[in-house]
């Protein structure tokens, strides 16, 4: 009841906001950023996260959020407000997330959201980058004798989350294999896990990182395995509202800074000592050369603060994804220099 009512209230409220509030909104094109001004005035970054996905955005028992999605918001807060802890987190369901962003309830959406054309172009959102390259997979019981997606047969039942790209990929996949299947879509990930665990469905499908994370919540994690095949591209990344170019740039470059810092070996412990580095790229990262912050109305130490307070991408990945046992192997989420596909434009 609480959940449902919350959804309705949020959507209702968001719609009302669109309906009733004055003709606010972002003035596109100008150098001034309304979102930046409001964030400074409020003293915190309004960040939308998931309702609990270990490794990405998950709250501990005392309500502290952590994860690589959370770190994007922390980086923005460090850059804009000087303190990575000045973030207000709003847990959102897949269904609520975009409405919450377009209506101004949140300013950054960092909620393992797949970047697609229609989302980017159609509904007033802008994706600023990718902080995790994922792909959809399937989880089955180990004793099922299913070792590959080629073992799926007509009549298989598949559980997933509603309102996500996985629902669409699942259909594309089963259609292409000409397999008839029973799709069962729940609103919350916890309910999907419960239903799959109980035997309501034979396979559970979502992003592979999600499968790995949810497996830890099962009553007996060792009884389940993730099939090797990946059936889709799922580039997950932070999203902002369309129409505030400056804010968009701040979020994009906060993320890029973390990745670039890893590339140049700058991390939270050595960042301040690298002020006099010989490498100009490192000096730009730690703010001792150039005036990069001025481009979006920030001081020159914005990127140093991100690295010092949040760390570089590698540190964030290690802390939240690798060390927690979710996905020890970085796979495509490795730097381009080390065989992965993480490649960001130069910060100069």
């Amino acid at each position: 009841m609480i959940k449902s009512i919350k959804t309705w209230i949020l959507i209702g409220f968001a719609s009302l906001l669109l309906v009733a509030c004055g003709q606010g909104g972002g003035g596109a094109g100008s150098k001034k950023s309304k979102t930046l001004d409001n964030t400074k005035k409020a003293g915190f970054v309004k960040c939308g996260v998931s309702q609990g996905l270990p490794g990405f955005s998950n709250a501990d028992a005392s309500g502290n959020w952590s994860g690589i999605d959370v770190d994007v918001c922390r980086a923005v807060a460090a850059a804009v407000l000087g303190d990575a802890d000045k973030v207000k987190y709003t847990p959102l369901s897949a269904k609520e997330r975009f409405t919450a962003l377009t209506s101004g309830e949140i300013d950054v959406l960092a909620r393992n959201t797949t970047w697609t054309l229609s989302r980017d172009a159609d509904i007033g959102l802008t994706f600023v980058g990718v902080n995790f390259y994922d792909g959809q997979g399937f989880m089955v019981r180990k004793n099922s004798g299913i070792n590959s997606v080629n073992d799926f047969k007509n009549g298989i039942s598949a559980c997933t989350n509603t309102g996500t790209t996985t629902e669409l990929n699942m259909r594309d996949f089963f259609n292409s294999k000409n397999i008839s299947y029973e799709p069962i879509a729940f609103e919350k990930a916890d309910e999907v896990v419960q239903a799959y665990d109980a035997g309501r469905c034979d396979t559970y499908t979502t992003d592979k990182s999600g499968l790995a994370a949810q497996r830890t919540k099962m009553s007996n994690p060792d009884e389940h395995k993730v099939l090797p095949e990946t059936i889709s591209k799922e580039p997950l990344g932070p999203v902002v509202r369309q129409g505030d170019a400056v804010w968009e740039d701040i979020v994009r470059w906060s993320l890029n800074t973390m990745i670039e810092a890893e590339e140049y070996g700058v991390n939270s412990s050595n960042a301040s000592s690298l002020k006099d580095s010989e490498n100009p790229a490192i000096k730009r990262l730690v703010g001792s050369e150039g005036e990069l912050g001025a481009a979006f109305g920030l001081d020159n130490d914005w990127s140093l603060r991100i690295i010092e307070q949040v760390g570089n991408y590698g540190e964030s990945y290690k802390k939240h994804i690798a060390d927690t046992g979710i996905l020890p192997n970085r796979g495509p989420n490795q730097l381009w220099t080390k065989g992965g596909i993480l490649y960001v434009p130069p910060a100069r």
């Binding site: 449902s4 719609s15 509904i123 007509n154 699942m170 259609n175 299947y181 879509a185 239903a195």
Partner: protein
């Protein structure tokens, strides 16, 4: 003269002007909101329109009463969700009414055990939030059901498992002729009944209408089977192995556990309120009525059926209408357990895929409004029919 005329008109005007002002104010508020929404959505780069209803939905739905797959449109997906909402509401209302009446009457029973059981049932089920009951039936009760390979079998033609209740599928030939014969039977029964009423009122002749009606209902469709080429065969569900340990049933019809859990929870919950309405209705009939009925030699069942219930219904119907409306609206909690009703399919998945929050939420609200008003209109008609007729 003019002044007088104005004065006469003024009387009418006094009634009309405030109403006109109210309507105008309401209209301007709506127009203000609409334009504002348009401007705000424009600023945020959100377009408004219903064109998306014709686009391909490209997601599948577990359970649909009409032909549907992802290649159909969002409009079609809306229809699937709407029909599923109507289905679960209709099932819920049907069972809630039956259970409500039984429990309501039981609460007034002279039998201590029956009365107490009914009382406990009401007190327990109406005081637990509905969403918890839905979760209970879905995650706790149905979880106890076996996997398909150990399904609970009913004479090997129907199987109850955690994946659903598999029942035989009816395969008709010439179903249209059969349907027509059933309609014909009902028309015949209507005429038989009105003839019987006339006979009774004019000549005091009793005609055994129940038996005649039943015979008609069986006989006329039976003729179509024997002479008009109607036939019915069953397709039974058969266990099918998908992998060494994964089983399901092929053939037959699967009643999904989401529907069972939701219908159970909705009817068990609403039945408690209906039971209280029934009890209130029966207690609201004057004691003298029962005594009078007893004095002319009617037995207990006859008193209930012929004297008490017709009068009690007048008290029962209006609050029960409310319960029907509540049940219909409560069915929107379906989303929690993946029953594909209009909220899950349309205000959930379709909203997410298209991002058209305002359009979809408005359509969904209007749909519930229409459903509720239809139920109200029907129940008001029924209420009028049951009201005291002055002769």
């Amino acid at each position: 003269m003019i002044l007088k005329k104005f004065n006469i008109e003024n009387k009418k005007a006094r009634d009309l002007i405030p109403q006109a002002i109210t309507v105008l104010a309401l209209l301007s508020v709506i127009i203000y909101f609409a334009t504002n929404a348009q401007i705000n959505m424009g600023n945020r780069g959100i377009s408004f329109g219903f064109g998306f209803l014709n686009q391909e939905a490209s997601f599948d739905i577990t359970f649909s009463m009409i032909e549907y797959d992802g290649s159909h449109s969002y409009g079609r997906a809306f229809l699937v969700g709407l029909l599923n909402t109507i289905l679960v509401s209709a099932i819920g209302i049907f069972f809630a009414t039956i259970m409500g009446v039984i429990v309501g009457i039981s609460r007034l029973s002279d039998n201590y055990l029956i009365a107490k059981v009914a009382e406990w049932y009401v007190e327990i089920f109406r005081n637990i939030p509905l969403i918890l009951q839905i979760f209970f039936w879905y995650f706790a009760a149905l979880r106890a059901l076996p996997l398909p390979e150990n399904g609970i079998s009913f004479y090997d033609i129907s199987f109850l498992t955690i994946k659903g209740w598999y029942v035989p599928k009816f395969i008709w030939t010439n179903f249209n002729i059969f349907l027509l014969s059933v309609i014909a039977a009902f028309i015949a029964i209507y005429f038989i009944n009105s003839y019987a009423t006339k006979q009774r009122e004019q000549f005091g002749k009793q005609i055994p209408t129940t038996i005649i009606s039943l015979t008609t209902l069986i006989l006329i469709p039976l003729i179509t089977f024997l002479f008009l080429g109607v036939s019915l065969t069953f397709e039974y569900p058969v266990l099918k192995q998908l992998s060494p340990t994964v089983f399901t049933y092929a053939g037959g019809v699967s009643i999904i556990p989401e529907l069972i859990a939701l219908a159970l929870a909705l009817s068990m919950y609403t039945a408690t309120f209906i039971a209280e309405n029934v009890r209130a209705g029966i207690l609201g009939v004057g004691k003298g009525q029962k005594e009078a009925a007893a004095s002319i030699g009617l037995n207990k069942n006859q008193i209930l059926k012929l004297v008490v219930m017709p009068q009690a219904l007048r008290i029962i119907i209006p609050p029960t209408t409310n319960q029907y409306l509540n049940l219909t609206k409560n069915s929107s909690l379906a989303a929690a357990i993946a029953y594909p009703d209009i909220v899950l399919v349309f205000a959930g998945t379709a909203l997410m895929q298209t991002g058209r929050a305002i359009e979809i939420i408005s359509i969904t609200m209007l749909t519930y409004l229409t459903l509720s008003i239809s139920i109200s209109i029907f129940m008001n008609w029924y209420n009028k029919k049951m009201a005291i007729k002055e002769k």
